[in-house]
Amino acid sequence: MTSSDVDLVVETVRDILTKFEPFVLTAERPWDAGLWSALAAAGLTGVGLPEEAGGSGGELADAVAIVGALAAGAAAVPVAEQLLVAAPAVLAAGLDLPAPEEPLSVAVDGAVTAEPRDDGDGPGSWTLTGTATDVAWAGVAQHLAVLATSAVGPVLALVDVAGRETTHAANLAGEPRGSFVLQGVTAAGALLTDAQAEQLRARYALARAVQLSAALQQVLAWTVHHAGERHQFGRPLGKFQAIQMELAEMAGEVTAVAALVDAAVQAVERGESLVLAAAAAKVRAGAAVEVVARLAHQVHGAIGFTQEHRLHHLTRRCWSWRDEAGTETAWARVLGAGLLADGPDGLWPALTRVV
């Protein structure tokens, strides 16, 4: 696909989004099932995945664009997990990809051990035991790519979780985040190298960074719009110098995040090592949330704090996403240590290699 194809994909997603009300999540309605169906019907839940594996074709850039458009729309569907994390990992491990219309999520937290049921070399059958925690879209996803540990190394296993019991927990935005207790579950799986397991975690972090970048851009746009519309003391908020300073600070953060996240995605496209680029993107995006969400609410005033207002659908997601798939603090340590891998004088060469 060319860049005009990316624009077309985004336009399609936005067209579909306008037909749904993505904003209200409750315990009874933990996701936008209708939106998911519409996206799946349009083939958008298989973008970036090869057609021969059941996907819709297209490039990583297309999948990233879809994820961004949905994140900016606060759409409650597991597209980031499926397109950017779980499906590529399943394919890389040589496992069969579930049908793209059946939601696929990923589990990297908790403690799940895997024992081989056959020779354990290459894709095969494994027995899983333990608890997968903080699983995004638990109760919604039908399939789960589980990162487990085994005596011979990390294992990626594909578990059918449709109808399986889960805790009904949610993140700050109301998106389901549950646990699964797995007791002797048989699943297809494959041994990974430690580096592959690390890449999987990094792709998850990058997926969240992509969502954060898109959401933060939208928060800025809404806030600029609000400042232009809302009048105080006889003129638009945006004419007050104090507000202009705050909006410019927000713009600086948002623009910096976008530049780094875009560059990290491009590094992945070029097939370069992912971990430090993803770590940097996640850290930078998470740090921006602090400033952008705070100032967005400050400029919006009390109205942005109400449940009726759209703002919090994105700020609550941002507060959650920055913690998910590894907190900024955790990734900052990974990044700091990784940049020093070549020794105490190796920082600068390492920095110029990351993205």
Partner: protein, 387 residues
């Protein structure tokens, strides 16, 4: 020079305050042990518990500084400070009576008629009568001079009120609203003229209380709509046309208390437990930094309590305390996040994760309620002689 108006004399030490502090601490420990409440952040907004408020009233910890003839206890602002601070630090459910005790009662004492005081103040001090602030309107934001709720005199000398107020905390559990209304037409030459305060019984016909749910779904705020509400003529509070002046004085009380820096204290307490367990140097240093900021805020707030005891009305220092304090409340979250790896979630198995989540979801409110920080800094700049 101008900055003198920001500086208050140090607060005197008060043995009486330390005595009542110890009593409150003992009371709270017993209540916690009995399970009568659980600690949460921001409970002066969200912790409505009339039974708890009545207990405080019984112990003489409401209306503390008021004359005894109105049910008060004629104690010092320093003593009251100690009581409120202990309640907030424990995350106790104090929201039901908070506005009445902090702000509406003193307002009545200052501007109310004898009948108003005698009728209402003893009930506030007993923890039985709750108030809301009727200032903000849907389109007014921080610009109170632009309010549109209108009161006109009818033939009987009563007021007929039409309009709507928003951000009235806990109006659904409260009895009265001190309501800022326009009693004469707006005058572009004198933007602050023509406003008055009315003491409005929320049970009157024509008043509708609609919930405003905040982003976490919590119901702490309301819209109060007035449709041809007839308010008895003697329910004017203070002087007709002096509403702006009265509100400004009221905001000084509102802005200076320990609730302006302790809303997220329960998060600090939870973080301290983590630091105590691990003895991680970076966590201890963060705890030290946060504590130093909190200790400075306490001193500022204590100075204001001391000034109130001296009969001063320190409106500019109060704006400064609220600006510095509410910024601190939000910073607590960011500082803690830097040195712990605990995701914020209301469903977290880790109490620190839950405290982070509660603090974060309430964060947008800290720096907005009672005047945005831009407004407050404008007031401080005035105190510096800049405008």
């Amino acid at each position: 020079m101008g900055s003198n108006s920001l500086t208050l004399a140090p607060a005197p030490r008060s043995a009486a305050a330390e005595e009542v502090r110890a009593e409150v601490r003992e009371f709270l420990a017993a209540e916690l042990a009995a399970g009568s409440f659980t600690t949460h952040v921001d409970t002066w907004l969200s912790g409505v518990d009339p039974a708890f408020s009545r207990k405080l009233g019984e112990r003489g910890w409401l209306g503390m500084t008021w004359p005894k003839q109105y049910g008060g206890h004629e104690r010092t602002a320093m003593e009251r400070y100690a009581v409120t601070e202990e309640l907030l630090a424990a995350g106790a459910p104090v929201a039901a009576h908070w506005i009445a005790d902090r702000q509406s009662g003193p307002n009545l004492l200052r501007y109310g008629t004898e009948a108003q005081r005698a009728e209402i103040l003893p009930r506030i001090a007993a923890g039985e009568c709750y108030f809301v602030i009727g200032m903000s309107e849907p389109d007014s934001g921080s610009d109170l001079a632009s309010i549109r709720t209108r009161a006109t005199r009818n033939g009987d000398g009563d007021w007929v009120v039409n309009g709507a107020k928003v951000w009235t905390s806990n109006a659904h559990t409260s009895h009265y609203a001190i309501t800022l209304v326009r009693t004469s037409p707006a005058d572009p030459a004198s933007r602050h003229a023509g406003l008055s305060q009315l003491l409005v019984d929320l049970s009157l016909p024509g008043i509708t209380v609609n919930p405003i749910r905040i982003l976490d779904g919590g119901h702490h705020f309301n819209e109060v709509v007035f449709e041809d509400v007839v308010i008895p003529g003697d329910m004017l509070l203070g002087e007709e046309g002096a509403g702006w002046h009265q509100v400004t004085a009221e905001l000084a009380f509102e802005r200076s208390g320990p609730e302006r820096f302790l809303s997220t204290y329960p998060l600090i307490a939870e973080f301290a437990r983590r630091a105590a367990e691990g003895q991680d140097p970076a966590q201890l240093a963060t705890l030290g930094r946060l504590s130093a900021r909190l200790l400075a805020l306490r001193q500022l707030s204590l100075r204001i309590a001391g000034a109130l005891d001296r009969g001063e009305l320190p409106d500019i220092p109060a704006a400064l305390v609220k600006d510095v304090g509410t910024t601190f409340e939000a910073d607590v979250i960011d500082e803690v996040r830097r040195v712990v790896d605990v995701p914020a979630s209301l469903d977290s198995p880790d109490p620190l994760g839950r405290a982070l989540a509660e603090a974060q979801l309430h964060a947008p409110g800290y720096t907005l309620r009672g005047g945005t920080n831009e407004i407050l800094r404008g007031i401080v700049a005035r105190g510096l002689g800049l405008r």
